[in-house]
Amino acid sequence: MGKSKNTFKNTGKSTDKIAAEARAYRFNFIGRSKFVVIVSTLFIIAGIIFFFIRGLNLGIDFRGGNLMEVQFTRDVEITELRKTMEDLGYGKAILQNTTPDRYIIRTTELTDEEKTQILNGLDKDIGIIKPLIQDRDVEAGFSQTITRNALIAVAISIAGILIYVWIRFEVRFAIVAIIELMHDLLIILSFYTITFREFNTTSIAVILTILGYSLSDAIIIFDRMREELRVSRRDRFIDLANYSMNKTLVRSLITGTTSLFPIIVILIIGNETLKDFAIGLTLGIVSGSYSSIFIGPPILTAWNNRFSIYKK
């Protein structure tokens, strides 16, 4: 190493202090997890209740029909557009403005003549700019394909992750990882039923993303536990788990923050499609972070207390 000094000058006393307290931890996460588990459970139950009351606000991908995004020549009030659509015989159309002079108009399936009639009507009454910003026709049965594909992808992912975590860690970690994953998925789905936000193919893409990503926090904590299990002579798993989480907490917070930076910027400046992505990803990252702390480790601890072979 040549002449250069290979060690830092430590201010002696303080380092000794750290070494002595090295295994102490600051936050008792598991002790406080009950509250979080209750909040999560209530949120999911609310989500399920809302699901049975009014279901998901399914987008055009699932229902089929037509969606047009129209740029008008001037700003339009929603009541004015509603009136025009009623006059044209499409009072039930779903209207949503993306900017003051831009609207998304959703209807049931339209023939070419019907579409032309609507566009001509809108052009006459308000004035529109062609070409349309977007125009989609979806066959109603199409959703079955998408849903089936998504479910297959979810099942394969879960199976793959289960097997991988099982091999790399232990079966209890693998099962807890899957429970955390289910928790995150249920939280997102509950968000969609409670807020009644439109659920479309983008939402599915987001959910699938969360599937892969939300586990990273859990894996980091598991990795730490694995390491501590190997070296630690501690008598209680709960302390080991708490210690591991305290050690990884800073990393979780920093990573969570940096991952959210660009996503939050998109939430602020992005258009509707981009926002759809950003909201789902934000939720997934937040829920993935806290489930890896407050949902997974308590279950692992309970598991260890239940089965004597793990009991320390």
Binding site: V138, N149, N271, T273
Partner: protein, 421 residues
């Protein structure tokens, strides 16, 4: 020192890769270096589902042929850079960039163009005709052309192959006096009375516009589709929507990157600075790969990139917090760096592999844009491992003996941390 050489070699390799990336980025013009997907560029996407006839299953060969025929038809329409792909459910996905007038494309692409010649046997009182079996089909055509007949009506005239000519002559000889129905996709286009044996060609009548005649001629020439196709989804994105999304994503990327850089430097000082160098290389290499592959970038693809930036930063955060920890344990900086990397590596690889498992499942079972997302996610995970681990490691170990590497450089304040405890 041997190790030093290794680190320098690694850095030189990265400089070469970054240089190569710049070559691809600036090869044409920066603005056009990445091919944009339909949702960012604007255009029409059509998803067609093969319809099974009775119990017969649609074979892959039939779909291959259908895909080729559709490609041929699109080429004849003169649409540039079309893309015809298949998904996991055997659906055909047709992408036509820049096409906003979709009706004609739909008419031409989806038409089965099953041409049949049948004898008209009788017509009942309601005017419903009874047809005999198909005597000949449209695959015996050499050419089909739109034009006018001597009466000024719009027609499509067809020229048969040699075999077709003989067959057609035989049919007409045997059926003089009867009506020969020319059926296109189940619709009787015309049913002229056979006055004498014909050997040359035949015409399709009852066409409204010359445009329609041209389209019929086009689909006849490219041949009949071996499967019937049903339209599942037609989507047209105007050019403005995509541009908005793209600009907003780029802006979000720049602001997000700046925030990450400030944050990382605030947290990890000099180490943060090195990780930002790694992150910059990550972005340049990613851009270079997209430019070199010319794989279309979609909106979900952008979401994938945004997410992998988080993954790339995470690798460094994991390593740095491990290094800090080792230093707080009182280890020397060389040992701390070594241990930090070693301890963090397992966790990084395990968490990245679970992400890759999902990306693989998405690629296999996803449709269109979701696949684009899976691809960017996978590429991102790979490059991030290269830049955030290998490159950052090489830079760090090259600098480890320098006097600049102090606890302050790493962002560790020993006494203060001790007090907090």
């Amino acid at each position: 020192m041997r190790n030093k050489k290794v680190h320098i070699t690694v850095i030189v390799i990265f400089i070469i890769i970054v240089g190569l990336s710049f070559y691809y980025i600036f090869r044409d013009s920066v603005g056009e270096s990445i091919k944009l997907g339909l949702d960012l560029k604007g255009g029409t996407q059509i998803i067609l589902k093969p319809v099974e006839q009775g119990t017969e299953e649609v074979t892959n060969e039939a779909l291959d042929k259908a895909q080729m025929i559709i490609m041929d038809r699109i080429d004849k329409l003169g649409i540039s850079e079309p893309l015809v792909t298949r998904d996991y459910n055997k659906n055909l996905i047709i992408q036509l960039p820049g096409v906003s007038d979709r009706q004609r494309a739909i008419d031409v692409i989806g038409k089965t163009a099953q041409l049949e010649f049948k004898i008209l046997q009788s017509i009942d009182e309601n005017g419903n005709p009874t047809l005999g079996p198909a005597l000949m089909t449209g695959d015996k055509l050499v050419r089909a052309q739109a034009g006018y007949n001597s009466n000024g009506q719009i027609v499509v005239s067809m020229v048969f192959t040699e075999e077709g000519s003989i067959q057609f002559e035989k049919i007409t000889t045997e059926n003089v006096g009867k009506q020969l129905a020319i059926v296109l996709d189940g619709e009787i286009k015309s049913a002229p009375v056979i006055r004498q044996a014909i050997s040359g060609d035949a015409v399709i009548e009852n066409i409204d516009t010359l445009e329609e005649a041209k389209d019929i001629a086009l689909v006849l020439q490219t041949g009949a589709l071996p499967v019937n196709l049903e339209m599942l989804e037609v989507q047209t994105i105007g050019p403005t929507l995509g541009q908005d999304s793209l600009q907003q994503s780029i802006l979000a990327g720049i602001i997000g990157f700046t925030l990450i850089a400030i944050f990382m430097v605030a947290m990890y000082r000099g180490l943060g600075l090195i990780s930002i160098v790694g992150l910059l290389c990550y972005i340049i290499i990613f851009w270079g790969i997209l430019a070199a592959l010319q794989a279309p970038l979609t909106l979900p693809g952008i979401a994938g990139i945004v997410l992998t930036i988080g993954i790339a930063v995470d690798a460094n955060v994991l390593i740095f917090s491990r290094i800090k920890e080792e230093i707080l344990k009182g280890k020397g900086k060389f040992a701390a760096f070594n241990e930090g990397f070693r301890n963090a590596l397992r966790a990084i690889i395990d968490s990245n592999i679970t992400t890759l498992i999902t990306a693989a499942a998405l690629y296999r079972f996803g449709t269109g844009p979701i696949r684009g997302f899976a691809v960017t996610l996978a590429i991102g995970v790979f490059i991030s491992m290269l830049t955030a681990i290998i490159l950052v490691r090489a830079i760090l170990f090259l600098a480890v003996n320098s006097r600049a590497i102090t606890p302050g450089f790493i962002g560790v304040r020993l006494p203060k941390v001790a007090k907090e405890k």
